[in-house]
């Protein structure tokens, strides 16, 4: 994964997208769809965050020899 600035922009973009979709779906009356998009966006961002944290932990483990 490109561990760089565009990671942050991706997360921000997903956040904005989900909130906009939520508003649109809420106004058009589909509450449950809004909830689904929120959960979907959260899962995608969580995967990215878990990936990046895994990267951090493996780096620290190899550098400080914590086994």
């Amino acid at each position: 994964m490109a561990i760089d600035i565009n990671m942050i922009f991706k997360i921000a973009a997903i956040g904005i997208l989900v909130s906009v979709l939520n508003m649109v779906l809420k106004h058009s009356g589909r509450e449950e769809m809004a909830m689904m998009t929120t959960i979907a966006g959260l899962i995608i961002v969580l995967f990215m965050i878990i990936n990046i944290i895994n990267n951090l932990f493996s780096t620290v483990r190899t550098m400080f020899e914590i086994y």
């Binding site: 942050i8 965050i49 020899e65």
Partner: protein, 128 residues
Amino acid sequence: MEIFKIVGLGITATILSVIIKQYKPEYGIHISIATGVIIFLLIVGKLASILKVMEQLTNKMEIDLIYVKSIFKIIGIAYISEFGAQVCRDSGEESIALKIEFAGKILIMVLALPILLSVLNLIVKLIP
């Protein structure tokens, strides 16, 4: 110089997370975690060279390598527990942050015990 890149990154990330916090608070935490990790990964090269230099120094002075290794471990554990505690504190979970720090202290104590014992043995030997 890296410092400009890092400061720029930090400021843009803070602005982004403030914007998104109004609509979706949980994404603010994601952005802060991601920024913290990215800044650390940018600096990790310099940190590795510092650790190598310290290791070479200890080899020259014939200090037992086990002590330096456990010091590095303690630094690593301290850094990770600090990282986790700060993330929890940012999101408002003060008690979880304190628990993480408490666990980190215990683990560091466990690692520091052998060094303590060897110092005490040394002192006992010195006393005639």
